[in-house]
């Protein structure tokens, strides 16, 4: 990581500034001073500024608020051989994320104030802003509510038993009701156990072909339906994690039309990859499934599904039914993936490929660039609540969390370059279009991709 020494003023000039929070999409300059946005103005000549100014020439680049990820598995404590808060944060800024929200399925799980303090204090020494999501239930066991007030006081931004759903509908109802005044949503990982027991990939011709137990889309949809009903019943704030099926998207669209407090996210991989990637051919259909089949890096929950589901997720993201992109970054050690498909852990290491993956939907015309930026900045901030608005815009006076990226840069994913300890991605070796050039958190350049920018122009 190429963190630069902090200097008083930074000028990002000549870039296309996309700031959905302020309705801005124009070529303009951004001036940062003392860690906050000072001015966004069409022309700020560096010569006009007093004192030392670091200049970042961003011609041809997009300059926007840093991305916010509300679904990140940082694995610490308990699984430091998969990822640590430090390596996860490093991966985040490499991917353009300035704020990440650690999921509480650690060991022990984050179900009390002391655990929140631990993660926040570890996160404070990293280049990214690390926020914490607390458990819905004690020890994520799904039996009784965690001490939610205590968790809020300690600083959690949402509640989730992610990794597992809140299976018990009664408990989910209590959680939505109890949390009503707490200002944080309940995020549920929707997966009806009885419909996917033993399943390892989406149910369909590919699972049939590979002889793998399938997970039907209705396993997700059944719980999405249940939770929407409970949100209506309780008036609680429901956030649906990683939607992956056309049916789920349709239900959320309907719920929003009825004015329910329901938000939803989609993962980058569900916008690009299908279950055919499990054949190991990176999507090209073939009559035979050769040695490359059963690529364990495609094993993820929710599973990669068919073309129609991918299209529905993209459409939902484009029309705002889905509020935001969230990575569900799930790093794993080698052994967890170097095994049979059935034995492999679920999850993909996403942070460092997220932008290039999501941009595919921009390049094919499915969503505008500014809407994409919205779904990665103000979208996720809105899900978490008012406190996040300051991280999601380039409003003068707010922290200067900024990403500069080239939407057209072609690059080939090489997991050996990852900052994340998790090298588990089916995209290794795949060419993506769009890459982060630099990331600033609180005005400091915390990541810079060598050779993409000229940042040497100090006066």
């Amino acid at each position: 990581m190429a963190a630069k020494a902090h200097i008083g003023q930074t000028l990002i000039s000549g870039g296309r500034v996309i700031d959905p929070a302020n309705g801005l999409d124009a070529v303009t300059d951004v001036l940062i001073a003392d860690g906050v946005i000072k001015a966004v103005n069409p022309s700020i000549p560096a010569e006009s500024l007093d004192g030392e100014v670091q200049v970042i020439r961003a011609d041809g680049m997009v300059v926007c608020p840093g991305f916010i990820d509300i679904h990140t598995h940082l694995r610490e404590p308990g699984f430091e051989y998969k990822e640590t808060i430090a390596t996860g944060a490093a991966a985040a800024v490499r991917g353009g994320f300035t704020t990440i929200c650690a999921m509480p399925n650690t060991e022990p799980s984050i179900d009390n104030g002391a655990m929140v303090d631990y993660v926040l204090s570890r996160g404070a020494t990293t280049p990214a802003r690390v926020k914490v999501i607390g458990c819905v239930s004690k020890d994520r066991a799904g039996h009784e509510l965690a001490d939610m007030e205590e968790l809020i006081d300690a600083g959690v931004v949402a509640f989730s038993d992610d990794g597992d759903p809140v299976y018990d509908a009664g408990l989910m109802r209590l959680a939505l009701t109890y949390s009503r005044g707490l200002g944080a949503p309940i995020t549920n990982h929707c997966q009806e156990h009885a419909l996917c027991c033993g399943g390892v990939m989406a149910e369909g011709w590919v699972s049939s072909r590979l002889g793998l137990a399938g997970i039907p889309a209705v396993a997700e949809e059944a719980m999405v339906a249940r939770d929407i009903g409970l949100a209506e019943l309780t008036g609680g704030r429901l956030h649906l994690a990683h939607l992956s099926s056309a049916g789920s998207v349709a239900m959320v669209r309907q719920a929003k039309a009825r004015g329910l407090l329901v938000t939803a996210e989609v993962c980058p991989h569900h916008l690009l990859l299908t279950d055919q990637w499990a054949l190991g051919l990176q999507c090209s259909p073939s009559v035979s499934a050769g040695p490359a089949a059963y690529d364990t890096h495609t094993k993820v929950y929710p599973p990669l599904r068919g073309d129609l589901d991918v299209a529905a997720c993209i459409a939902g993201l484009a029309d705002g039914t889905i509020d935001c992109v969230a990575t569900d970054h799930a790093p794993h050690d080698r052994v967890s993936k170097e095994c049979t498909y059935q034995d492999a852990a679920f999850g993909i290491s996403v942070l460092e490929t997220a932008l290039g993956t999501v941009l595919a939907t921009v390049h094919d015309g499915s969503i505008s660039l500014s809407d994409m930026v919205e779904r990665m900045t103000t979208g996720p901030a809105r899900v978490l609540g008012d406190g996040f608005a300051k991280y999601a815009g380039l409003t003068p006076g707010t922290p200067a969390d900024i990403v500069v990226f080239d939407p057209n840069a072609l690059w080939t994913v090489d997991v050996n370059d990852f900052a994340s300890m998790g090298r588990n991605t089916p995209l290794n070796g795949v060419e993506l279009r769009g890459r982060v050039a630099a990331t600033l958190v609180g005005g400091r350049v915390v990541f810079e991709e060598p050779g993409m920018l000229n940042t040497g122009g100090e006066l």
Binding site: G204, W205, S208, G211, G214, G290, P291, C339, T340
Partner: protein
């Protein structure tokens, strides 16, 4: 064109066309062309000749090491491979999960790498997880992998021996009607048989409780330009018919699958009694098939459940012959992987 590679080895116009490229692994039958299927069955014919001799030994695989690596109990498949390897003069080592470091938690990958380092030429693997053979094949550069059954995915050597047995009795496979009845969903035998029989031009009807029928093995619209790159659907003539009386009409071959009775506990069908009533292959039902229709079963059989006892031991049953042919087929495959090469043209 006739070219002599040396004075006494050549490819002849009158020979069948050579199979291009050397197969490295046998993972399933989905990547066998009709030509390769036929060549393998032809080779098995020659191997049967060896089996029928007094001296059941040829030196073809002298100096080759074959490991049978079985993570699931099996009698006939493992012994069949062992006998095949030994007749071809390979050194055959049997490794089972209960007698090895598998129990100590050694990973499949490490086991494979260790065997490769020991100079093993062929690993014959049976594993409860689908894709375990693919995983080994992908990670071992110098070993040929033969799938002896992986989870609910495939059992290609069983599929080939079924094809071989059927061809020997029916005279040919193309245009024949094959009915596969039972728990197709969880059956690796059925999946491989589907590729094999369809690959040689048979029409295949899958039959059994609707809860035990799989999704299609190729995408909707395959071959119509909307799926599969417009390549023809290799399984276009595979259909599902849950009613056995209807399915068996005009069949040339009926293959009954083993019923895992524990599936009943998981609710896939209400009772064994109802299963017998609706899906047992018996004399009455066979009467609807073609006059000389044949019966096969991959074994081990729950006699009186999948097949009536009378039929199982009757003259239409090929069940015992399937076992003998299994050795010949496995000899052919071992020879093709570890012994033969394509003569360079």
């Amino acid at each position: 064109m006739v070219v002599a590679a040396t004075g006494d080895t050549r490819i002849l116009q009158s020979d069948p066309p050579p199979v291009q490229g050397r197969r490295r692994h046998v993972l399933d039958l989905d990547d066998f062309t009709a030509e390769e299927l036929t060549a393998t069955l032809d080779n098995a014919d020659a191997m049967r000749g060896v089996l029928e001799r007094d001296v059941k030994k040829v030196p073809a695989l002298r100096g080759r090491v074959v490991i049978t690596l079985f993570y699931e109990a099996s009698t006939r498949t493992r012994i069949s491979f062992e006998e095949a390897g030994k007749i071809l003069s390979a050194d055959v080592i049997n490794m089972t999960a209960s007698a090895s470091s598998v129990e100590k938690g050694e990973s499949l990958l490490n086991t494979g790498l260790t065997l490769q380092a020991m100079g093993v030429d062929v690993i014959v693997i049976r594993h409860p997880h689908a894709g375990a053979p693919h995983f080994l094949a992908r990670n071992l550069a110098n070993v040929a992998v033969i799938n002896a059954g992986d989870g609910a995915h495939a059992h290609p050597t069983q599929g080939l021996l079924d094809l071989y047995t059927a061809r020997a009795h029916l005279g040919g496979i193309a245009g024949r009607k094959v009915v596969i009845v039972g728990d197709v969903l969880h059956s690796r035998v059925a999946r491989s048989a589907v590729w094999g029989f369809a690959g040689l031009g048979a029409s295949v009807v899958l039959c059994g409780p609707p809860t035990l029928m799989p999704d299609p093995l190729v995408p909707q619209g395959w071959g119509t330009g909307t799926g599969g790159n417009g390549a023809p659907n290799p399984l276009a003539d595979v259909t599902v018919q849950p009613d056995l009386d209807a399915a068996i009409e005009g069949a040339d071959l009926v293959m009954a699958l083993r019923l895992q009775t524990e599936r009943q506990q998981r609710g896939f069908f209400p009772s064994v009694r109802e299963y017998i009533r609706r899906w047992q292959v018996n004399d009455d039902r066979m009467a609807r098939a073609n006059t000389n229709a044949l019966l096969m079963h991959p074994g081990p059989m729950n006699e009186g459940i999948e097949v009536s006892s009378r039929l199982a031991h009757g003259e239409r049953s090929l069940i015992e012959e399937q076992v003998t042919n299994g050795v010949a087929i496995r000899m052919a495959l071992l020879y093709q992987l570890a012994g033969a090469t394509v003569v360079e043209d």
